[in-house]
Symmetry: D2
Subunit: 380 residues, 4 copies
């Protein structure tokens, strides 16, 4: 199916480590059976994009079009693709999609180990799909959804801005919170208040935690955490005096919290966080999406005698993504003291500002940045 | 230790099945080592008390002083009893206590099966403690806490009325919610909107459920459920048309909810509830504290093919009671649209009104009734 | 791909409820891309086949070729199908396969509820595949494996007879045992000693159970259970005196076993089995693959006060099937006192004897029957 | 109760770090209510005793009588102590006991965090009980069981030698295996073949593992592991070439085992073991009972991306101890190729040889050593 009338689109292309992202024109794609073409409403810039811009991830087939989680409007399709509820996808509707394609459901990882996120065939929009193959990233005016991509229609009660404010961080945080199994009234510590950490802290509040504390380095993020309602946002003390550790212990009768969620990506935070977790507690590692080296762990005092349980969380599956929409639809307006989930967004960038966006995320000047590839059109 | 100066007290005594509860005077008790004497601020009347009044529970050593969960002020003690945090109990402080004594921590039930609630030595205040042995129930102006009773100081931020509004229903509901393992965004059905059901529905809301539905027979309880914020309070349809089942299915795309919590005590509700639960869902039975007979279950369609998981929940342990205070302290004011947890209380009765209280609970005229054994004193 | 030289094959076809199975000739199939053609070495006859012969399952597209789990030799293929370990399937090798095709990995059941066995697209070889569409059942000299069927090569250390002796019952029993989470030294009761029950009892022994008891009605199956080494094979007492219940209670100090696995398909067995399970125990329902009506359950005494956990188990996924081969390879020779897993097989039938086979299973004259569609050839 | 006729006994007393253990005479103890006096049949020497002899544990109230798990014959008692099944303890019977006393069942650790092994009141026979207070260790001809110590009668089918061969290592290994939740057919790696590691490997075999591998440094322990039937006993390669890691990976198609149990106490083993565990696997740390420092862990590659679950296991509770007897009674004779669990015992020492016993354990010359404080008497 060729969209002969369509003039094509502009996309931002990342060519490799430490090279500026450049704009490039692409013709309108030819759709294969089962494929859907989206006009991009929003994509986002996240920490993974910064890692990509420095070549820190293995197996990335540069050039790529970054932007994994996105929201768009259906422009065209070939065949009758259906959403997870079996409803046909309709032209004109607003949709989002799980950014994964190709998980084979036939290999040892998929069928036996049940870790489909480790499936060798799996590819991720905006990360491991080459720009040479198609419009497979959200920093583009158009996105081609390959057959088999899991699509969700955004309900009319939910603004696209709110969905993208959830973005990739929110389903990841849902996965972490599921893994943490917080019981009503338990105390939770979140390390790091970037989008994943802020989302996890907000979800912990929504889960009925007895208290939620955040430890973070940047002041702008501490302020945001307070606006999202955490009980205490504690500045990371990088001196030897370890004030933040003392603070968390003093808030918990010297015992530490019941559950800690690590969302920093800094190896030293793991050691720190274990110290702030109680005996018999749970420690969830969700922040380490790139390799920043090792941290010294004492198996006697920090794991064995402590009866600690440590769990790694990598990525999401569709069930997390599916619940994201339900959570946003129900709770998205009331978080952050009624400001709504989109309060997490610091700034929205056009396609010509993506290098600035990457720099702003890297330096911690912003909490979360959106990418809006198409000019804003007046509402009909 | 004899409190020679104390004039003794009045208590309400239940003498056996279907006999009126009568008031009786008791001398001030002689405290054994480790015992604590409370002036009762509040106790409550619950469904179990109605069952007791009809002789429906086995092994009850009538005469008894009813009232299991209570809040009181420490009048005296012998020795230095400590609370769970190791702090000495102080005269004048407001406390509550887990209503269990004698769990042996030495038998097969306690140590091997890890079901201490089935320990043969266990006795429950207000239920299986005889009035001939001591002031072991809350429908009395004084309560004697035996050595080993687990005591919790009520924090000054928490009014005694709010604690007793939680009462025995709230920790039971916490246990049920823990067992249900609700994930953020999942849909929850609660069957029955008595104190346990209402508490469970409210906790499900606090747990970040995607929606909370209640099915109930009495209009006063449906109205209360709405005031506590459930998404939909559905009147039980006892005709053959099964309107409530159809309603829940239509709210869930025909699939049923993810989790159902049964809090009715009516056997037929179990069959009904399974019908409203999705394939692969969880069904928690918490309402059946007395024997009301059987219900027909089809193992093929209702368990096996449905991949259903059914879990029985009986009573609480101290950890549920401990978290109750933390939950009330944090969330107790904001529930029921800011009316607070005490909004669940329909009426407060004096000791001379306990027969009326029992009748009101039995007929469903009230949701929750308190007992206030001592006259209200002006605050100092 | 057309196998022009192949003369075609004979298959046994079931035409509907209570009609005799008849032999029919089929031409050699034309293979589509990704398909594999097997020469059938063994298939089996199981309780589901008896249900099929009476029309007790819904949605069966008669005529069908029965036989879900089978073992065969690869005759031909089109393209390069691979097994779960990524190795290409080779002509001449001995394989088995999970009897499921079409699970969509795209719907709510597959992706959100994570119950792919409830996926509406799922079809099962020998059960819900029509004989009009292809050679999709094991009671045939040839079997066509559709693209996407999960194939496992049988290791050379494992005889095809042993694999089919595991058959469909063993992976089902693995699923049940996984669900039962038996701890070392726990006592296990299995209700029913058909192939699923015997397999579950044998796996419980292999799991380090403290004791394994079997309750069963047929003497031939009780004898078989003893030969497989259970601690006690107890004859079902269908009089009012309930001798089997008393026996199990007396073996467990009056408490009941830690875990019970139901493998009878008789509703009354569920009530019986709960009675023989201890407080706080686990009850796994795996036997109810067709609807045999209801049983009266008392939610108070049998679930709530008992702290019981009941779990339904339906079918298997590939991970159970994959582990079956590993378990058979390691333990298959040593079970049944060294007689091997194939000791469970009572008789092997030719295609012309399948009606007799159905009758023998239905009347309980045999434990497990095999179907060998092709004449035995002398080994090369 | 004074045993006036008893001449008293000899015990081995440890006076502090790096001082020889010395024999000392004690008078027969005066029993308090609920206490039981044992004539010691066997105690043991374990790695913890070596740590104690070097002062490596905090909070040890030297002088102590070492020996935590022991088996003895009841000589006398005061009152009617009962075992966990409610049967009165009888003079002359053979018993063993959980080596813990004083767990309060009243503090935050016991009641809320549910980690009674972290209860501040808990004391351990042979470790944290002072010899100044009583005969509270097994390296003594007599042992005084304080009221509340959990006692188990050894069944007549079980020789005392077999029970003590289980000793403290077996219940610890049961706890580790419970935590590891091995599924039938899964591959298990055990690091270290001291008594805990050998017990864990043997239990993994009894649990139906698909394969059990052991990595160990000492040749005598490797040989023992082979005699206990592990699939492969692999010598620890301490060169840079890492042969043992390569060997485990090659045995598992390059993926690593499903479950690893660490039983070495060497920090570097944790890193090593994670390398040999598959994505999505489980890693149980049970070997680290003293502080041997840190190991560098990479949170990205070794936890997060790997979806790893790490669990610390410290000590046991009574349920592990209780199941130990059932496991030994059932499986104790058949392990080690029919040599029985006591095959793990390398040597039995008299009280005058305990310094030699400590040295033999420390240097790895033996696998497990027993202490027999009383001379062997001819059987009656």
């Amino acid at each position: 199916m060729v969209l002969t009338a369509h003039p094509g689109c502009t996309a931002a292309v990342m060519h490799g480590a430490d090279r500026p992202v450049e704009l490039q024109h692409f013709p309108a794609p030819e759709l294969a059976p089962g494929e859907v073409l989206l006009e991009t409403l929003f994509s986002e810039v996240c920490g993974t994009d910064v890692h990509l811009s420095h070549g820190r991830l293995a197996g990335v087939p540069y050039p790529i079009i970054p932007g994994h989680v996105s929201v768009g409007r259906v422009l065209a399709m070939r065949g009758v693709p259906r959403d997870v509820d079996g409803r046909p996808v309709r032209v004109g509707s607003i949709v989002t999609f799980l950014d994964v394609v190709g998980t084979c459901n036939a290999c040892w990882f998929c069928l036996v180990a049940k870790t489909p996120n480790r499936c060798p065939s799996r590819r991720v929009y905006g990360v491991t799909c080459s720009a040479r193959e198609g419009l497979y990233g959200g920093w583009s005016q158009l996105i081609t959804l390959q057959a088999g991509v899991a699509i969700l229609e955004v309900p009319p009660t939910l603004a696209p801005e709110r969905v993208i404010a959830g973005g990739c961080a929110l389903p990841t945080a849902i996965h972490a919170i599921d893994t943490a199994r917080i019981q009503l009234g338990e105390r939770v510590l979140v390390q790091g208040a970037g989008p994943v950490g802020l989302s996890a802290a907000t979800l912990a509040l929504l889960s009925g935690a007895g208290a939620v504390y955040v430890v973070e380095r940047h002041e702008v993020r501490l302020a945001m955490a307070r606006e999202f309602g955490v009980d205490e946002a504690i500045r990371l003390d990088e001196t030897g005096s370890r004030g933040h550790v003392e603070r968390v212990l003093s808030l918990t009768a010297g015992r530490g919290v019941d559950v800690t969620i690590e969302a920093t990506g800094v190896p030293a935070a793991v050691k720190d966080g274990i110290r702030m977790t109680r005996d018999g507690g749970r420690y969830v590692v969700v922040g380490h999406y790139t390799d920043h080296g090792e941290v010294g762990i004492n198996p006697h005092t920090e794991i064995n005698r402590k009866h600690l349980e440590v769990r790694g969380v990598w990525g999401v599956d569709f069930s997390h993504f599916h619940r994201m929409l339900r959570i946003l639809d129900r709770y998205g307006a009331r978080v952050a003291g009624g400001r709504g989930w989109e309060h997490m967004v610091s700034r929205t960038y056009g396609l010509d500002e993506v290098n600035q966006a990457l720099s702003d995320v890297e330096t911690g000047r912003i909490v979360k940045g959106l990418i809006r590839p198409n000019p804003v059109r007046p509402s009909p």
